[in-house]
Amino acid sequence: MTETKAKPKKTVAWVEEPQLGFWESTFVPAIMKGLKTTLKHVTDRAPVTQQYPEQKPDLPLHYRGVHRLNRDEKDRVKCVACMMCATACPANCISIEAQAAPPEWPDRDKFPKSFVLDELRCIYCGMCEEACPVDAIELTHIYDLTGETRDALMFDREKLLSVYDKTKDNPRDPVRTRRGILGPAAEFASLPTLGPATVVPDSDRSARNPTAGVIKGSLGANS
C-alpha cells in the first residue's frame, strides 16, 4: 500500500480475464450454483407483484395524470384564459378560446369560453401546471384513462371541471394553492410590477409603484 502512495494515482483499472481452472472448464460447479440460486427462489419466494385491478398502485405524490380545471370559491372556473398553458405546452394539446369576463366578475379580464385539452396528444409533462399563473390547471392522480373514441378523449371545459369535482376531496390530489382564492397573478392591480425595460410615463402603474428596473422620466413621453 505504501508503494501505491508514492506512485501517481492510476485512473485506469486494468482487469485481467479471470483464469479458468479445472472445475470452471467442466461447467459443472457453475451450473450447480445457478440451479441452487434459482431453486432457492422457487422454494422461498417473495413476489412483489401487485395484483393490479384489485390492488391499486401506491403512486408517488408528484404523479402526473389526467388534468383538471380548478374552481374558485364561487364555483366559477378559475382559469383566466391567459394562454400561458397553451403557450408552454410542448405537445400543443391545449386550445383555449377566451371571452371577455362579464362585468360582475371584477377580478379578471377574461375567462375561457371553451377550453379543450386533447388527452391523447398530451405527454403529461406538467408544464401547463407550472405555467399557470392562477393555479387553475392541475394534474391529478388519475392514471387509468380510457375512451372508446378519439373524440371522447378531447376533454372540454365542463369535463375538466368535473374531474376537479371528482378529485378535489382525494387526499392525494389537494388543491395546491389557497383554496377558492385565485392565485397571486390574478391580483395584478395590487402587485409590484416587474419593470419593463423601457421608459414609462408617470401615469403608468409601474411608475407609481416602482421596482428595480423601472426607468422613470420624460424620455418616453417625449419620444
Binding site: K10, S25, H41
Partner: protein, 398 residues
C-alpha cells in the same frame, strides 16, 4: 381384445393426451419461471391459473391465420405439420409405463411394442424433425427465419452425433436396441443395475445433446429472440405457431422418458416398485414412478432454461465437436474394451469419472493456450493472483 383395437386405443389416448400435457407443461414452465424470478405467474384464469392452458388453446384456435404473401405456401404449411408429426412418431416406440404381465390386458403403455430397432428409430425420426424447422425457415422467405433455420440445422446435425454415440455404448453393454428390453434389464436388477452407474458420463452427454436436439435453452440459438425475433417461426401465427411448440414440448416429453428409461431404470424404484413387488395395482405405481421420473427431468429442463444463459454459436459448436464427440467416442471405446476383455461393469464408472477429469484438464489447458496466443498476454504469476485480487493491476509491477 384384439391387438389392433388396443393399438388404436393407445394411439387415440396418446395423441389426445399429448397436446393437453404440452399445454400444461407450458403452464408449468410459466409458473416455475415466474417463481424463479419472484413473480406470481399466470393466476387469472381459474384457481392458480389452472385453466390458463385452455384459454390459451382457445385463443390459438380462434386467432387469425396469417399467411404472408411472400411465402412458399406448400412448404410453409407443411413445416409445422412435419414438426409435430416427427415428434409424435418418435413417441410411438417409447414405453411410457410398465410393459409386463402386471398390466391389465386391455392396457398397453407403448404404441408399437417389440421394435428391435427402437433407439435407432427414435434417432432417425427425431433428426427428421429438423426438416420442420428448416422448411419453415426457408419457406418464410425472411432473413431472420432463414438465419434461425440455418443455425438449427447446423446445431441439430452436430448434436445428432454425440446423442447417438453416447447411447451406443449403452446398447453395446446391454446387447439390445429395444427400449422395452433395455428397461427390463434394469428393472430386473434393481437400483444397482441402473445404467447411470455404468454410464454416468453418457447420461450427462445424452441429456445435454437432447436439450440441443430439442432447441431448448441454453441451446435455443435457432429462435433466440434478442437476435432473430423468433427465428424460424417468425412468420408463423395462430395454430401453425402452436404446432411448432407442440412439437418442441412433445420432444421434451420424449427426451425425459428416454432419459429415465435408458439411464434411470424405467419404472424401477427401491422398495416401492421392484421386479418382485406383487401387490394389487402395482402397475399403476410403476406407471406413476416412471411418470414421476420423466416429470422431474422436465422440471430440470425448465430450471436449466431459466438458469443458464444462452451459448454463443461458436461455443455451441465447440461443445459439440471438440468436447462431446471425442468424449462419447472415448466412452464407446471404453465400453468396447471392457466388454472385449470381460472386465467388471463397475470399471466403467471409474472410467467415466476418469474421462470427465481428463476433459476438464484438457479444456482448462486449451483455454490457457488460447489466452496465451493473444497479443500482449502477460503470463500471470501463480502467487500474484491472490495479491492482485486486493488492488487490481498494481501488483503486477513488482
Amino acid at each position: 381384445m384384439p391387438e389392433i383395437l388396443i393399438t388404436l386405443l393407445t394411439i387415440g389416448v396418446v395423441v389426445a393426451a399429448i397436446p393437453g400435457v404440452c399445454n400444461y407443461l407450458i403452464l408449468l414452465e410459466r409458473k416455475l419461471s415466474a417463481w424463479m424470478q419472484d413473480r406470481i405467474g399466470p393466476n387469472r384464469v381459474g384457481p392458480m391459473g389452472l385453466f390458463q392452458p385452455l384459454a390459451d388453446g382457445i385463443k390459438l384456435l380462434l386467432k387469425e391465420e396469417v399467411v404472408p404473401p411472400h411465402v412458399d405456401k406448400v412448404l410453409y404449411l407443411l413445416a409445422p405439420a412435419l414438426s409435430v408429426f416427427t415428434a409424435m412418431m418418435a413417441f410411438a416406440v417409447v414405453p411410457f409405463g410398465p410393459v409386463d404381465d402386471s398390466v391389465p390386458g386391455f392396457l398397453r403403455f407403448i404404441i408399437a411394442p417389440n421394435i428391435n430397432i427402437g433407439l435407432i428409430f427414435i434417432f432417425a425420426i427425431t433428426s427428421l424433425g429438423v426438416y420442420g424447422i428448416v422448411l419453415g425457415g426457408w419457406a418464410s422467405n425472411n432473413k431472420y427465419s432463414a438465419l434461425g433455420a440455418m443455425r438449427a440445422s447446423a446445431q441439430v446435425v452436430s448434436y445428432e452425433i454425440p446423442l447417438g454415440m453416447s447411447v451406443l455404448g449403452l446398447a453395446l453393454m446391454s446387447g439390445t436396441l429395444n427400449l422395452e428390453e433395455l428397461m427390463h434389464q434394469q428393472t430386473q436388477g434393481g437400483i444397482m443395475s441402473w445404467n447411470i452407474w455404468f454410464q454416468p458420463l453418457a447420461a450427462i452427454m445424452f441429456f445435454t445433446a437432447s436439450l440441443a436436439e430439442a432447441n431448448r435453452l441454453p441451446f435455443d440459438l435457432a429462435e433466440c429472440e434478442q437476435e432473430l425475433i423468433g427465428g424460424w417461426h417468425t412468420e408463423y401465427s395462430a395454430l401453425k405457431w402452436a404446432l411448432f411448440f407442440l412439437g418442441e414440448y412433445t420432444h421434451m416429453i420424449t427426451i425425459s422418458f428416454l432419459t429415465s428409461i435408458l439411464f434411470l431404470g424405467g419404472w424401477n424404484l427401491p422398495f416401492i416398485a421392484e421386479a418382485t413387488s406383487n401387490y394389487p395395482g402395482v402397475w399403476l405405481v410403476k406407471l406413476l414412478v416412471l411418470f414421476g421420473k420423466a416429470f422431474s427431468f422436465i422440471c430440470l429442463m425448465i430450471m436449466l432454461r431459466w438458469t443458464i444463459p444462452r451459448f454463443r454459436f461458436d461455443q455451441l459448436m465447440e461443445l459439440a465437436w471438440k468436447v462431446m464427440i471425442p468424449l462419447s467416442l472415448a466412452n464407446l471405446v471404453m465400453v468396447m474394451f471392457c466388454m472385449q476383455f470381460g472386465f467388471n461393469r463397475w470399471w466403467l464408472f471409474v472410467g467415466s469419472l476418469g474421462l470427465f477429469a481428463a476433459w476438464g484438464v484438457i479444456s482448462a489447458n486449451l483455454r490457457e493456450a488460447e489466452l496465451a496466443a493473444r497479443p500482449g498476454y502477460v503470463k500471470p504469476k501463480k502467487k500474484a493472483a491472490a495479491v492482485a485480487h486486493g488492488h487490481g493491476h498494481a501488483a503486477g509491477h513488482h
